[in-house]
Subunit: 286 residues, 2 copies
Amino acid sequence: MSVLVINEIKKLREIIKENRKEPKTIALVPTMGCLHEGHKSLIAKASSIADLTIVSVFVNPIQFCPGEDYDRYPRTLEADKDAAQSAGADIIFAPSVSEMYPNLQKFSDLTMVVPPYELTDIMCGKSRVGHFDGVETVVTKLFNIVQPDIACFGMKDIQQLFLIKKMVRDLNIPVEIIPCPLVREKNGLALSSRNKYLSDEDKVKALSISRSVFAIRDAYKAGIKETKKLFDTGLANLDKGVELEYLEFVDENTFKPVESVNQDTICAMAARVGNVRLIDNIILEV
Amino acid sequence: MSVLVINEIKKLREIIKENRKEPKTIALVPTMGCLHEGHKSLIAKASSIADLTIVSVFVNPIQFCPGEDYDRYPRTLEADKDAAQSAGADIIFAPSVSEMYPNLQKFSDLTMVVPPYELTDIMCGKSRVGHFDGVETVVTKLFNIVQPDIACFGMKDIQQLFLIKKMVRDLNIPVEIIPCPLVREKNGLALSSRNKYLSDEDKVKALSISRSVFAIRDAYKAGIKETKKLFDTGLANLDKGVELEYLEFVDENTFKPVESVNQDTICAMAARVGNVRLIDNIILEV
């Protein structure tokens, strides 16, 4: 069966309601499209568990900060259909901005879902002010539209995953969050839709980001526990054309920064290559 | 059948799931307990529509501001059982604070649902900073726990009703909000759990609040449209022992203040009698 593309909330709800009649497990994989092997691994995981797998493709304007790449973010719906279908999706939900935010004059007119300040004033949230408010709001909307039993999120966006799991607990949302491993190119580069922005030359520089987190993991395995030393190891491995935004060591259960790392520590990094912002992370137990 | 009192989220969900098997309409009436005739009218409305009517009784700490009456707010669960049952409730959901907010060290650690600033920087939201964040967050939690088809809210808390309806639209929550009329004592006083705080003497003073909104309505019916004049009419009717907090005229569709009133204008008031804060409102079409 060919994947079904639905643009309207009402239509999607009708189809889901029809499917609910025979008890079925429904999965949601929220994406901004431009699907790569990372997304496909989420979809494959979802469809291995669920009877009906819905992939949302929506470049959500309210999670982009002023000056970010909302306008140029790649939109590739035709290719996304093939990718989603080959990975096991049954439905693509691809709403317009006005379908998701009708009659909106300004973003500040919206009811928002907002994670705690302490957990967003670090890492990606620190430079992308309001980003996670936009993420949690749109994910809440998608959860309310689809009412999935499970939803798959990638561990590449590790702060997002942590905040979504917390949101689900805090707001008693009846969905199970399935974390899925970060997927890399063979050369180590973490897959990202934003890799499309990279020139060949910049891609070589970008490889030093994953090299850096691997070097940190290796140093940890060699017995170094002090974050300051591990930080320096990471920095030493970054190409000089790469501008570090943050390199943080946080506990995976609390997302609080740690001074001394252990097997529950996440090492997370964001850096810019030219005007392309990339992120990577590794859990030190791996 | 006697009303069933449930304290645990897990248990409530099991009962609801069991009931969902035969398609049933489920109604939620969120309350803070201390049920009076106003609440009973909500429960009666709910049970006239739904097959299963759930009344939540929970004094929600995160919607009280510092210095407000959280500690002394009346808790009357035994009486509430009778009141809810006589009005048609099937289940009372009365969770503890730790059931609703497990392992909470401080409120700022929570994921919150936040209405737009412009709609909370007026009327009750202006003096009760953060109040509506607490309301929307707990209502979202209750919606996610119960997943009701309909939910009844009173028009006494008119700003709350407006914000909840907006939240449901903005976040695509699959529930229908049923607004229910404000209920008054025969003497005009708007029913409120906080009326219990009033001495006999203060209750006489409190009557001037409803007298004031009725006087405004009568002046409007007599042809006065200018809010400044209507404001003065209201003020002139307040007893001198009553301290006005606000007296606002807002459009019922936008909640923006108006200069000239019409049949879509809400006149809303908050005032203090001693240390008791009371609210009242009237839609000028009435």
